[in-house]
Symmetry: C2
Subunit: 364 residues, 2 copies
Amino acid sequence: MKSSLIVVGKALRYNLPFLNYIHSTITKHLNLPDQTVYIDKNDKDLFFVLEESISHADEIVIVTSNDSFNLVNKVIATLGEETLELKGGMLIPSKAVRYETDCYLLAREGKYINVIKTTENKKLPPIFIDNTNESSLFSIINIDEDSLKILVEPLAQNYEIRITPTTIIDGWISVEAVSNKYGNLESFFKAVKSLLPQKVIQHPDVIEHICTCLETHGKTLSVAESCTGGLIASMLTEHSGVSAVFKGGIVSYANEIKASWLGVNEETLERHGAVSELCVREMLEGVLNASLADYAIATSGIAGPTGGSIEKPVGTVFVGARDKEGNVLIERLLLEGDRHYIQRQSAYHAFKLLLHVGETLFLK
Amino acid sequence: MKSSLIVVGKALRYNLPFLNYIHSTITKHLNLPDQTVYIDKNDKDLFFVLEESISHADEIVIVTSNDSFNLVNKVIATLGEETLELKGGMLIPSKAVRYETDCYLLAREGKYINVIKTTENKKLPPIFIDNTNESSLFSIINIDEDSLKILVEPLAQNYEIRITPTTIIDGWISVEAVSNKYGNLESFFKAVKSLLPQKVIQHPDVIEHICTCLETHGKTLSVAESCTGGLIASMLTEHSGVSAVFKGGIVSYANEIKASWLGVNEETLERHGAVSELCVREMLEGVLNASLADYAIATSGIAGPTGGSIEKPVGTVFVGARDKEGNVLIERLLLEGDRHYIQRQSAYHAFKLLLHVGETLFLK
């Protein structure tokens, strides 16, 4: 089974927020498409690209801009030797098996082709296609990829599961598990969990898992961010219903804000600098005091590309997590990548520490 | 000129933070690739997909996982009827015109093929390819797409520029301008600016433009976010050097945090609710007082999918911007899309208001 996403209309290409919305909606139906093609409606290869993409995939979603919908419909009809018919106020290929305003579905030689017309800042029309693969994403922490292969691969074969592990950060591996015909994902998960106690998070989204566990136990979280600059708060608040567990966050970018909002000692900042274990320790304490939350995470580091020194090169980041009883973990990292990737890796490392500080909640 | 990005290795596909890093690095060299293909190294179509992608594009970047680099090199050599040679410790196609550790460049029949080997959490090797199109992104605010076409399109033709406008939010259009052979981007920009005074931002990234203008004038900014939950702070801190102008942000998700951190009146919250003009007004005042910044932006709304009511359905968002002299703009929005797209549109609307409140700085 191969899937393809084709985006027609050059204007869509430059509208990154809208494109993100399209992507995140499509991937709920197609998992991650094997191929993504962007093409302008005036591109002379349009016919050819559509023909080729349709011939090599089984599930095709074609997203068009407002002004390229009609043209795409003509091309799709021609490719299938169909005529255009007026259905639901749209001129669409005659053999459409399903349609609603601004979208239709074709079933052609065992393939599904779903065409949708989009308008910026508007809700997407419904998507009819649905990938039927039984697959699942989960995470394993505190394990390296080699050990995972040695330990989990044989189990996967036993249960007729194919797994694809990928290292998100050191000690945090995300695994896609796809069930073969006679495979059994549930039994596989049980076996992995009993093989690796307190290491498996059976949820495609670890952050959502954290929020759910906090809510179940009536606990709350707050964050104090320096180098991640709001990214951790933003990753949390991407999830609906987080307001029950996320009290708030402080982005303390300037040093005087660290002092005035979080109560970090000026002496700490002077003697150790903002990028220090002690500063993160005080940020954790400060945000817990200010928010009265049960758990806190904090970051301070040099995301670059400027601001590095010999002692603390770019990529030096301190991350920490703490509960209100005073259990605290702080780590010094040396990360690679561009500014944004360093920020994102820092965020994942901070969440990993939170998993450990609250392991009775999160790693049962 | 067509460009293509091919990602080989299934594990890369599921590592979204790393994939984002790859994308943002590649797009500095290729603008936005016309085609993006993901393929597993064990996929029986690998040879075919590489052949096809190379034949239809002029600039091809192939990103491989650690364990698929050698296989890809073999395929690429076979396709070009080259042998493999040991260069720089790698077995790569014999006609590579340039190589460094983990990467090489081929020039084949007027096409450029750049292969790079990647490892999670590590810096990417250098990318040799560089798109030579003279193109530029800029933004126009307070104009609709139809007026833009009527006013700017003839100018573009005069200067031999092709433009592609896309509406980011209502009244904020991002425009890609590509110069033809004899085109003149600089003169075109001057003409557009004098045609549309105080509406043109000649910078590919409006947020970076805001930061630069603030820094030039020695001004600072702080933010108070409810429904955007850290996204605005995160969009600001994606830019290096923002520490000179961004003092800090407060993500006041819980109502008690709005009261205790920002000084929002409990009466306001009780009588008008957190999603109200008055609440945003007090959030702006609160964060300015707490940070002593010159400008502030604030948001409060219902990003959904739950939490809506008849009076305030999902997508109802109040955004505001203010300076310390008390000039303030607040807007009530009704946005469509999923949770994340509503958050992102809110953020852009808030930045748009900031552009207006600080127009002497930002819209000269």
